[in-house]
Amino acid sequence: MVSSIVLYLIRRSINAVITIVLLLALVFILLHTIIRSPEGLARVICGNPHCSNSAIALIIKQNGLTNPLWVQFFSYINQVFHGNLGIDTFYRGRPELSVIEAFLPITLELVVTGSALGILIGIFTGSIAASNRNRAQDYGIKAVYLTAWSAPVFLVGFVLQLIFAYWLKLLPAHGIANAFLTPPKVLTGAPLIDALIDGKWVYAYSVAQHLVLPAFALAVASFGITTRLTRASMIDALDRDYVKLAYMKGLSKRTVVWGTAFRNAVIPIITLIALTFAFSVGGAVIIEDVFSYYGMGYFTVQAIYNSDYPAILAFVLIIGLAVIIANLVADLLYAVADPRVRLT
């Protein structure tokens, strides 16, 4: 007899691998439908538009680009599972993985801060709106979240920059930290955490300052979805008989709303965390561009401008993995929060 949680994890891991392979297949098929000739592919891998003919021949040979498509696919998969995502052409031939290693933690720090902030505020405002349905609070919150939900991310970034950086001059508009400060030792790669571990308080303060605006801009985006869903979920919970029963126990409105309805309403929101995370990763690409925040998003935009295909493929893969992990975490959390869920 295998315990159900282990079985569940095995099942989820298998599913994750299948998903990743399918994802790779998708990207692979796409790449090969667009560029059919081995020469073209070699040129892409080379990255240099003025690649010499001999270099191209070498690349074709090395990468087996004349092999049947399925052989190429399996060797590609094989490479990926050995951690070889290709060579970054823009960053002077560094392996893709090391480039990503440098950029990913920065983005993760931004995305996690931003989406956590958005989710927390969203859950709170959504609950308030629902428990005051069709009253002034509800309409007010609705106006705010509809605006937040509809505004393009870059506009939010611009407006925040304009107000807090240029107009009120409270916070910096660009970058990760004050460039004149000495950065801490690289441990995790995430600047704020590294600075705190290393005890560089001034640097940490500077990082925190730089983090506020982009994180807040990301938060605005996830705040919209979270509020909307929390409100719906909370309205649903508040209509249930168990809420009426809680009132029948003589409990006050506050106890019923936050003690009984809230926990039930929040459970469906947990699955949203992964979704919001994924959504914020997308948003980060734009926000990093606006705030010159040198993370994965910035790296991606550079890769786009430089037609650096291996970088884009590697990026897709890493983000896919991150989102799959986020989903798994959300599902486990869900199971912890809801006694009805059996992990199957």
């Binding site: 008989d241 168990y242 029963l245 029948m248 126990k249 926990r263 039930n264 929060a337 006694p339």
Partner: protein, 329 residues
């Protein structure tokens, strides 16, 4: 105010409740008069949309946000529920009136264990009484009440989550929770209609015993006249948001006065009478947004008169029954 022990536990006069809906205003209760004596068991019988659930919810002021008390008063144990503040109403809930709901799957908080939910009730009662809470004695009290509702294996049931219980078990837990609050009035809104026949019978039996043992008043809301008959001393029949007859159960079942009550009883198949056709009531229940003029039952009534179509009948008393029909003056 009169000595509260002599007065009726529930005394509703001229209650009108309106729901705002997309289709227009829906008058769910139309100047309803309704009384329950202390220690009495009354059932409210009516078809869907007749306003019987609204009446129950109105007494404990748990109506949906789009409902409004248009007129009338609801005296619950001497307090007008329509005029109290939220805080004051919450003091009446539970200890004065407790309500049980229909759907067992929705009636307990799915994310909390049964014991936690029962202790919540005790804590709330003790707080209202201004007494200290003791976890151990409270737990014991909870188990005792579960035994009172004849819950087999109460010690183990109390540590489970609601989804691990059957419908019948959940309704028992809810009734036990009601007993913990020691209410003077128990309102049961179709508590057995989602249960199996044998389990329904168990719960009905239980409620009947509890009413006797705890000296509670019971308002039993149901669409099933058979169930109403087996549980209550007095029956109140509702049709389209109005109380059309209120009579002692036996006399209503044997000689209902209102044509609707009569037709309803004649139309129900029973196990003992089998021969011949059922006497069906023609037509369907009215549209509540634009109900018929005059007596709301007149389009379906076999004894309809000219006056019924234009004027709404008033309540008249005849042989201890109250009836709202022009046949009786």
């Amino acid at each position: 105010m009169a000595d509260s022990d002599d007065s009726d536990i529930v005394d509703i006069e001229g209650l009108t409740i309106t729901y705002r809906t997309v289709y227009g205003n829906l008058v769910s209760l139309n100047s309803v008069d309704f009384k329950v004596k202390r220690g009495e068991s009354v059932s409210i019988v009516g078809e869907s949309g007749s306003g019987k659930s609204t009446l129950g919810l109105a007494i404990v002021r748990l109506l949906a946000p789009n409902a409004s008390y248009s007129s009338g008063r609801i005296m619950l144990d001497g307090h007008d529920v329509t005029k109290l503040s939220n805080r004051q109403v919450s003091l009446l809930r539970g200890t004065t009136a407790f309500m049980i709901f229909q759907d067992p799957l929705n009636t307990l908080n799915p994310v909390k264990r049964v014991d936690v939910q029962m202790l919540e009730a005790i804590r709330s009662r003790l707080k209202q009484e201004g007494q200290p809470f003791n976890e151990e004695s409270a737990y014991k009290e909870a188990v005792d009440r579960l035994n009172d509702v004849r819950m087999p294996d109460a010690d183990s049931i109390i540590t489970r989550y609601p989804h691990q219980l059957s419908g019948g078990q959940i309704q028992r837990v809810v009734i036990a929770m009601g007993l913990l609050m020691r209410p003077k009035l128990m309102i049961a809104d179709e508590p057995t209609s989602a249960l199996d026949v044998t389990v329904q019978a168990q719960v009905l039996e239980l409620l009947r015993d509890l009413q006797r043992n705890y000296q509670m008043s019971i308002i039993f809301i149901t669409h099933d006249i058979n169930v109403a008959h087996s549980i209550s001393e007095r029956m109140v029949v509702m049709y389209a948001g109005e109380v059309i007859e209120a009579s002692p159960t036996e006399s209503l079942v044997k000689n209902g006065l209102h044509p609707y009550s009569q037709a309803l009883i004649a139309s129900i198949p029973t196990i003992s009478k089998s021969e011949g056709k059922l006497t069906a009531i023609a037509g369907s229940p009215p549209d509540m947004i634009s109900p018929p003029n005059g007596c709301r039952f007149h389009p379906r009534c076999p004894h309809v008169m000219q006056v019924c179509t234009v004027q709404s009948p008033r309540t008249t008393v005849k042989d201890g029954s109250e009836v709202r029909c022009f046949l009786y003056g």
